[in-house]
Structure formats: structure tokens, C-alpha cells
């Protein structure tokens, strides 16, 4: 099947949201997606993009183009080596797997990272997601959590508000 990759445009936000929700459903977390098309539009296509997207498109039998996969990424900064490409979401619809779309997306992102003078690409994977772990390790990915003992932490909004409000002493 023929497919092509292209940069996402403002008109794509409904497809992006659809695929974000499909991936979340895949992780049994669909109700946790609070983002709206409006957020995606403002955050991705405003003055400062907070994320970027590459889409995979196929031509259907009726010759309409259908977005069947996406990669959402942004740039981060490692204080030792500089710019990195951070792969945030990466998903191909089930019916379109095994066709090389995922590999091609990853290759496209690698190109991008090298062109933008990034020293690496980073991403997190759930520790029980063995097919994905294998997919990435086959291409040279290292598990930093395992090799270097890094743990991901988070302050949620409640904690932020608590910290931001002056405390009484």
C-alpha cells in the first residue's frame, strides 16, 4: 500500500486529536484526554509551537486521503550536549501496521533530528510494552532507566499551586 509522510497543518488538528485518543484507548486511558482541537490549534500552530507533528497518509479505495498514523515531537535541551528531539507520541492505526509506516516515520524523525543538529532522540515507553521496546531496541535505542537508573518524576497542578502560593511561616 502506498503511503506518504507530511508535516501536519492547522486543518489536521481533528485527525491529530482522533489519533491521540485512539492511542490513549489502546492504553485504556481514553477518558484522560482532556485536550481539545482548539488547544491543539493554539499550541501547535500559534507563534510558538509547543509541539510538532508528522502525519502518515494513505489513499483509500475511493481515492480520498486518510490520515492513519502520526508522530508528535518537540525539541528539548540537554545541558551537556544541547538540543535533543523528544518523541512524545507515535502511533499507527492497527489496520495499517506491518507496512513499514512506523519504520519510515522513525527514519523521517531521525533525519529531522540530524538536520536540526540534535545529539539524540528521547522518548518514554511503558515497561510492559514489549513490542514497542523491541521495535526501538532493534534500531539501537538504549533503556536509560535501566542502564543509568533515571526515574521520571512529576509535580501535578495541585502541588504546583501549593508551591506557588506563599506559605505562612
Amino acid at each position: 500500500m502506498d503511503f506518504k509522510l507530511r508535516k501536519a497543518e492547522p486543518a489536521d488538528v481533528s485527525d491529530i486529536l482522533r489519533l491521540v485518543k485512539e492511542l490513549a484507548k489502546h492504553e485504556e486511558m481514553e477518558d484522560q484526554v482532556l485536550l481539545t482541537e482548539k488547544d491543539l490549534l493554539e499550541d501547535g500552530f500559534g507563534e510558538t509551537p509547543f509541539y510538532r507533528c508528522v502525519l502518515a497518509e494513505v489513499q483509500t479505495e475511493t481515492s480520498r486521503s486518510k490520515v492513519v498514523g502520526f508522530a508528535m515531537y518537540y525539541f528539548t535541551y540537554d545541558p551537556w550536549v544541547g538540543k535533543q528531539l523528544y518523541l512524545e507520541d507515535f502511533f499507527i492505526m492497527e489496520a495499517y501496521r506491518g507496512l513499514g509506516i512506523g519504520s519510515e516515520l522513525l527514519r523521517h524523525l531521525s533525519d529531522l533530528a540530524v538536520t536540526c543538529r540534535c545529539t539524540g532522540m528521547m522518548f518514554v515507553v511503558a515497561e510492559n510494552n514489549e513490542p514497542s521496546i523491541r521495535f526501538y531496541k532493534r534500531r539501537g535505542a538504549e533503556d536509560l532507566s535501566k542502564d543509568e537508573g533515571w526515574r521520571v518524576f512529576r509535580f501535578d497542578r495541585d502541588s504546583l499551586l501549593r508551591m506557588a502560593t506563599p506559605t505562612e511561616e
Binding site: 509547543f50 545541558p79 551537556w80 550536549v81 533530528a113 533515571w150 499551586l161
Partner: protein, 169 residues
């Protein structure tokens, strides 16, 4: 009671930022891994598109024993969660040894929390080495959750040589 101020970093601060990055790396026994230069920091942080933001902590001249008045910093940038949107990512956070225990670290975290809330970020993320129990306690006391522990996320990286390998396939 030590006096100090926190302020946004300016282009002239890049040599102090690099010095503190190296001090933190030395603290982790990784000083030779810092290959970033002042020129990189200048271009990447103060160009058209900043890839990072920095807060610096400064003491009055009469309070610093030698050299510069900049004695602490926090480096951060914005990331994007496809379920909830913008996040503040705390990349580096360091106060020089002799200026610890004075509330500078807490104050930095407070200002970062305010920044996160103001820019409508849903949370602040960061990673901590699993053997750095002092830092883990510092963060947990303020409400941080260990996502690696609770949600099983593992941080992965594909380095430049493997990116090049993939992009040339």
C-alpha cells in the same frame, strides 16, 4: 540571613550557566561529558527560538567568597503532553554547595511553579537518578510523584550514531 535574588538569565550569564552546568556534572562525576560551549548556550538560549530558559540565583558581591555572584540556576523548557497539553520540564537544578540550606532551592522551585501556573502548564516534570535519595526526598516533600515507580515509565534514548544509521537507510 543570606540575601539573594532570582532573575531570568541574560546573554551575559552564559559563562556562569556553563560553569554551574559543569559543577553539577562534576557532582555526578560526569564533568568530561559536558561538551556544550558558551557559544552553543548563547545561540540556543538567546536566539530567535530559545530551546531552553534559565533562572539564576545571585548573591550580593560582599557575600560571595570568590569570582561570580551567580551561585545557583535552574534550566527548564516547555514540553507537550498529548492528553493535557503544555508542561514545564525542569532539566537542571543546582545551588553551589556553600549556599545550600538558605532557602534558595525552595525559592527557585516556587518561582518555577508560578511560571508553570502562569503559562497554563498542567504539571512540571523532571528526572532524578534513583540513587539520589536527598533530591528525591526534597521533591517528594513538596508533593512530587515518582512516575517511574507508580506508572512504570522507562526513559529511552537513541543516540546520534544510531540516528545517522537510521536516517541513511
Amino acid at each position: 540571613m543570606a540575601r539573594f535574588i532570582l532573575r531570568k538569565a541574560e546573554p551575559k550569564d552564559v559563562s556562569d550557566i556553563l560553569r554551574l552546568i559543569k559543577e553539577l556534572a562534576k557532582f555526578e562525576e560526569m564533568e568530561e561529558k559536558v561538551i556544550l560551549t558558551e557559544k552553543d548556550l548563547l545561540e540556543d538560549g538567546f536566539g530567535d527560538h530559545p530551546f531552553y530558559h534559565c533562572l539564576v540565583a545571585e548573591v550580593p558581591e560582599d557575600q560571595c567568597s570568590e569570582g561570580s555572584t551567580v551561585i545557583g540556576f535552574a534550566m527548564y523548557y516547555f514540553t507537550y503532553d498529548p492528553w493535557i497539553g503544555k508542561l514545564l520540564y525542569l532539566e537542571d537544578f543546582f545551588v553551589m554547595h556553600q549556599y545550600r540550606g538558605l532557602g534558595i532551592g525552595s525559592h527557585i522551585l516556587k518561582v518555577l511553579s508560578e511560571t508553570a501556573v502562569k503559562t497554563r502548564c498542567s504539571s512540571m516534570h523532571f528526572i532524578v537518578a534513583e540513587n539520589n535519595s536527598k533530591s528525591i526526598e526534597f521533591y517528594k516533600r513538596r508533593g512530587a510523584a515518582d512516575l517511574s515507580s507508580e506508572e512504570g515509565w522507562r526513559l529511552f534514548e537513541i543516540d546520534k550514531k544510531d540516528l545517522l544509521k537510521m536516517s541513511s537507510q
